[in-house]
């Protein structure tokens, strides 16, 4: 599904990713582990087109991502959950979730909403609240819901369990496991190993922007 071949990415002339390679096969859940500053977020942002690799390729189903503008990537069915949530404060929870659906030409709003609420009933309860009032963890949930709304093929989740209470993080893990049964591939970054180990099919470890290993738990 997604293969990353030796990409190099620099931010303001500092090399952050140096020759990173990994593959995310169809219908799998892949973990990405690394310490703070290893480059996990940078990789995600490169995939979403906010940073341009100076070398290497990123292929999504054989299509070179670098030929697509940032907003065209979401339309391939990639859902991205940012590390810092990135909700639009003025909009309600539901509107936030619908945002990528509106931007897409193919998705149906009611269908996607039903799907998201089915998986995350917690969100449904607060769907009319404005995003700016939510607590940190609640925002995290909504951001996940939003990624789910558009990510029909691939989900990129940047530290989804961070700051989430254990009860909920257990629920999330279940949700994500459930998704694995569908057509989706999931790519999860983690600085905390505890949560993901149990659920991923394959885990890459990076350090200072380069692969140092991969395991199949």
């Amino acid at each position: 599904m997604l293969s990353i071949e030796g990409i190099h990415v620099s931010i303001q002339s500092a090399a952050v990713l140096r020759g990173l390679s990994m593959t995310i096969p169809d219908r799998t859940m892949v973990g990405l582990v690394g310490r703070n500053g290893a480059g996990k977020t940078t990789l995600m942002r490169s995939l979403m087109g906010h940073l341009r690799p100076s070398q290497g390729r990123m292929l999504f189903n054989g299509c070179d991502l670098s030929t697509l503008a940032s907003h065209e990537r979401a339309r391939l069915g990639i859902g991205y959950m940012q590390e810092d949530r990135g909700l639009v404060p003025e909009l309600t929870v539901e509107e936030n979730i619908l945002l990528p659906v509106w931007a897409s030409r193919t998705l149906s709003a009611s269908e996607r909403l039903a799907f998201v609420y089915g998986i995350l009933p917690e969100i449904k309860e607060m769907r009319h609240r404005r995003a700016l009032l939510l607590s940190g963890g609640q925002q995290k949930l909504v951001a996940l819901g939003r990624a789910l709304a558009v990510g029909t093929r691939l989900l990129l989740l940047d530290e989804p369990f961070e700051g989430v209470a254990p009860a909920l993080s257990k629920r999330l893990a279940e949700v994500i496991l459930k998704l694995k049964a569908s057509d989706l591939s999931i790519f999860i970054s983690q600085s905390d190993l505890n949560h993901s180990r149990r659920i991923v099919d394959l885990e890459y470890t990076i350090e200072r922007g380069a692969n140092i290993g991969s395991v199949q738990p």
Partner: protein, 251 residues
């Protein structure tokens, strides 16, 4: 025992959402209190009310006997309450060392126009703190470019510059790499050795850390305190297991 922090019947609502109701807490010297709770339970709100960012609708908050309910964050900070933030609040355009120097310069006794902010004493103190938090090698990087975990550390280091009488940490270890979390808590706790009487309240989602570092746990759910006890006891309560740790299924 004299309470350093005392909250009596504190309540707060936003429109129809009750974010704190009838909160009663007394914290004595040297206590290490873990604040746990589901997302949106009101932990941050509690911290915000103690530090004056939010004013309670009802009830009273006292610091070492002084009523601080209506004071603003600056005055409360000046009284010796320091905090860190769930989302780090830093000076993104300045370097790491300058962030620390700002924190030192804000110390009331040190402000002024005609002295250098970067005098050797201040710089030494700042560097010592940075070293303690393993931030020293980031010394001259612009804070805006730091990865999330490092920002978190710096945020806490800044809270500790003033040698607080009461320390509040909002999710100090979230976004910090797993193997560093424990070390980090050690660091924080050891930084407080100079003032062993200062109580620490920290919001935490990781129960291992709670078990290891808290002497007492307060669990929140939906704006209320559902448990306030020693860690083992608190974590064993049904409500806590149901709503916080998820060991019991809801309903």
């Amino acid at each position: 025992m004299k309470a350093i922090l005392e909250a009596n019947g504190v309540g707060r609502r936003f429109g129809a959402v009750v974010v704190a109701s009838d909160i009663n807490v007394k914290v004595g010297p040297g206590e290490r209190v873990g604040l746990i709770g589901s997302n949106g339970a009101g932990k941050t709100t509690f911290v915000n009310m103690i530090t004056g960012y939010l004013k309670p609708d009802e009830g009273q908050i006292k610091l070492a006997g002084t009523d601080i309910t209506r004071m603003n964050p600056r005055v409360i900070s000046a009284l010796g309450v320091a905090r860190s933030f769930q989302i780090p609040q830093l000076f993104g355009d300045l370097s790491v060392i300058d962030n620390m120097l700002v924190a030192l310069a804000c110390d009331a006794s040190r402000s002024g126009f005609l002295r250098p902010a970067r005098d050797p004493l201040a710089v030494d103190r700042a560097e010592e703190l940075l070293r303690r938090f393993h931030l020293h090698h980031h010394r001259s990087r612009r804070v805006g470019e730091l990865p999330g975990g490092v920002r978190k550390l710096l945020d806490i280091a800044m809270a500790l510059t003033a040698r607080p009488k009461l320390l509040l940490l909002d999710e100090p270890t979230s976004a910090v790499a797993a193997d560093e979390k424990f070390q980090m808590m050690e660091t924080i706790m050891s930084a407080l050795k100079e003032d062993p009487d200062s109580p620490v309240l920290f919001v935490e989602h990781d129960m291992e850390i709670i078990e290891r570092h808290a002497t007492r746990v307060i669990a929140f759910y939906s704006g209320r305190i559902i448990a306030d006890d020693a860690p083992q006891a608190a974590l064993a309560q049904d409500d806590v297991r149901r709503y916080v740790t998820g060991e019991l299924a809801t309903e």
